[in-house]
């Protein structure tokens, strides 16, 4: 990412989740799109308010699980039928019932890893630097007990004074300009 300068956005701080949700709804209805809320625990209503309805994590998980199933079952079949056929007490080389057990485990393994790492990837994490950490009140509150709404400067509707005035109407504790 190129080095950027200037304003990342305006960060409004709220004391309660309800205030945050109504401000987020208001901003969305007013036409703002490039924005995000920051909360110390999951607030689904806030995600809904800013127009984030569904994530693709489940799909990634499903694909991962099917891949795990196919990988292990295919590996077992290939090993037991072609690569290294062994006669074990007269059982068939293609003992799919027995193969089901490790295949089941790998379905879960791949699905779980896909869900976890897929979630991190979609979230853009790990990302150790973010402009918001420059805001003086962000780190003391966002992961403890404060609720933030950030309207980002890349939004076409963003105007420093106008947006600040807009946010002030929701009686935030403070509105801070965040630098890159």
């Amino acid at each position: 990412m190129p080095v950027r300068e200037g304003t990342y956005g305006l960060l409004a701080e709220f004391d309660t989740p309800s205030q945050l949700v109504s401000a987020a709804e208001g901003a969305y209805n007013a036409g703002y799109r490039r924005m995000d809320c920051y909360t110390p625990y999951p607030v689904e209503e806030a995600a809904e308010a800013i127009g984030f309805h569904r994530s693709t994590v489940s799909l990634v998980c499903l694909i991962g699980g099917l891949l795990g199933l196919a990988t292990m079952f295919g590996l077992e079949t290939w090993i037991s039928v072609w690569a290294f056929p062994l006669n074990i007490a007269g059982r068939p080389y293609f003992s799919w019932v027995a193969f089901a057990v490790p295949a089941y485990e790998w379905t879960i393994l791949y699905a779980g890893l896909s869900a976890a790492f897929g979630m991190l990837f979609l979230n853009g994490l790990p990302q150790l630097y973010h402009p918001l950490f420059n805001a003086p009140n962000f780190r003391s509150g966002a992961t403890t007990d404060k609720f933030f709404l950030c309207l980002e400067s890349t939004d076409p509707k963003f105007d420093l004074n106008e947006t600040r005035g807009f946010l002030d109407r929701y009686t935030p504790v403070s509105v801070v300009e965040v630098e890159y």
Binding site: P40, P42, I79, V101, L113, L132, D145
Partner: protein
């Protein structure tokens, strides 16, 4: 999930369900955060922690000595020989992995059932799972005799041109346990990321900020992130649930697929899973009681937690009791096989019959006291009961593994088993390792999930109508 209906005006009693609140009243987002994070971020480590850590460290040293001697001399230093080739190593393996299962049950199954009370205990129950799996996985590895060739279990192209044999339950075991360990670690870590972010932001020392900053991967609590995070957590919980049931099922296949009387039982999978959860909940209580006392967490890990865990123990204990009764019925009354008949007689009245009665006393007789609500809410009693149940469950595995093997079909091949000092040292050493890792965990990582506690507070409820909403549009 986001809005849990916790009463606002009556802090102790839920008007809908009539149940007691999980967290003691009067807490705020800040107070629960401080209560949990101060344990980790305090610059002064309590003296008691050093005492326990050193004691556990002594046992870890003993384990290292026992392992070193094992590598020098081989498994002959243990009592394992024919006919009892499995001995303590497999008893301990099954016992440890069973203990781990309650952690997954609390974190995954109770999450799916929306049991809010689990939120205070799930993190350290998950940690317990991981450390128990570490101890468990050690045993099959050192039991194979040449642990440095343990990777031969894995399917990989090699110059010997041989591949694993996938029709063997021992092979299934390898995949079940390794998957379980991996998914448990991932579930635990992902669950911890938001709390690590909190610690990063609250850490005073530079080192702490770097350490937790790296671990938290830059978590900033965006609601988009939270939404994906919640989906991933639910998916992981949904995956961990069939996983935990399958792991002990597969372990029971190690026995049930064999033809030995006492092992060849169709009831083994559900019986093993119930036993695993039983002993695991006992271990959670064993850990929770001293921790909440020592760190003054009585507000967060309340009597209701202890009470509920007592109920789960009672229920799973009764399932286990059903398993014992079924075994007796099958072998004495139903099988019409005198091998089975003799196995059960030998188990009860043979030379090692005492171990069977220890297990009946510890697992069935004494836990019936848990029917009493008063006793379930007595912390000292519950601690004692958890130790009793863990002892009983260890003896259950001992009875299954050792007693069955000592006397099989052919009297000329009968033998006996007497554990050596190295057997005891290795077992005690893993108890030390488990405690050692746990001490590190409670000192350096958040043992109670702060973000989930915040969610349970009445303040977390959204009041839409209470807010004057300015006109939309501008």
């Amino acid at each position: 999930m986001a809005t849990k209906d916790v009463p606002v005006n009556d802090p102790m009693l839920d008007p809908v369900t009539g149940e007691f609140a999980v967290i003691a009243p009067g807490h705020t987002f800040k107070s629960v955060t401080e209560e949990v994070s101060r344990i980790v971020l305090t610059p002064r480590t309590p003296l008691g922690w050093f005492f326990g850590f050193t004691l556990a460290g002594g046992f870890v040293l003993m384990l290292l000595v026992a392992l070193a001697w094992l590598l020098v001399k081989g498994p002959g230093i243990w009592a394992v020989t024919i006919p009892v080739a499995w001995g303590f190593a497999i008893v301990n393996f099954v016992w440890w992995i069973g203990i781990g299962h309650a952690g997954t049950l609390i974190s995954a199954i109770l999450l799916l059932f929306k049991q809010g009370w689990r939120n205070s205990i799930n993190r350290f129950a998950e940690a317990m799972t991981i450390f128990a799996v570490v101890c468990a996985a050690l045993f099959p590895l050192i039991h194979v005799g040449r642990p440095w060739l343990g990777y031969w279990l894995l399917p990989y192209p090699n110059t010997m041109n041989v591949w694993p044999q996938f029709r063997s339950p021992l092979m299934w075991d390898c995949f079940a346990v390794s998957t379980y360990a991996t998914i448990s670690v991932v579930f635990w870590y992902i669950g911890m990321v938001p709390d690590l972010g909190t610690l990063r932001d609250r850490a005073q020392s530079r080192l702490g900020q770097y350490f937790y900053g790296m671990l938290s991967m830059g978590w900033r609590g965006s609601v988009r992130h939270w939404a994906r995070y919640e989906t991933a957590s639910l998916l992981l919980a949904g995956l961990a649930t069939p996983l935990v049931l399958s792991v002990h099922t597969v372990i029971s296949f190690d026995f049930a697929v064999a033809l030995l009387p006492g092992w060849h039982d169709t009831i083994f999978p559900p019986f093993f899973v119930a036993g695993a959860i039983y002993s695991g909940f006992a271990m959670v209580i064993t850990l929770a009681v001293p921790i909440r006392k020592f760190y003054h967490l009585e507000d967060l890990v309340t009597l209701r937690h202890i009470d509920n865990m007592g109920k789960v123990m009672l229920a799973t204990g009764l399932i286990v009791a059903y398993g014992y009764v079924s075994e007796v019925f099958m072998s004495y009354c139903y099988s019409a096989s005198h091998w089975e008949y003799f196995m059960m007689w030998n188990r009860m009245f043979g030379p090692m019959g005492w171990s069977y009665w220890v297990l009946i006393t510890c697992n069935i007789a004494l836990p019936q006291l848990l029917w009493s609500r008063k006793l379930r809410r007595n912390v000292g009693f519950m601690f004692l009961m958890s130790l009793i149940v863990n002892t009983g469950m260890w003896f259950e595995r001992f009875v299954i593994v050792v007693t069955s093997l000592t006397r099989d079909y052919l009297p000329s091949s009968w033998g006996t088993y007497r554990a050596t000092k190295w057997d005891y040292a290795t077992f005690a050493g893993t108890l030390g390792l488990f405690t050692f890792l746990f001490f590190l965990f409670i000192r350096f990582l958040p043992m109670i999930p702060m973000s989930e506690l915040r969610l349970m507070l009445p303040q977390a409820k959204i009041h839409k109508e209470a807010q004057p909403i300015p006109e939309a549009g501008d």
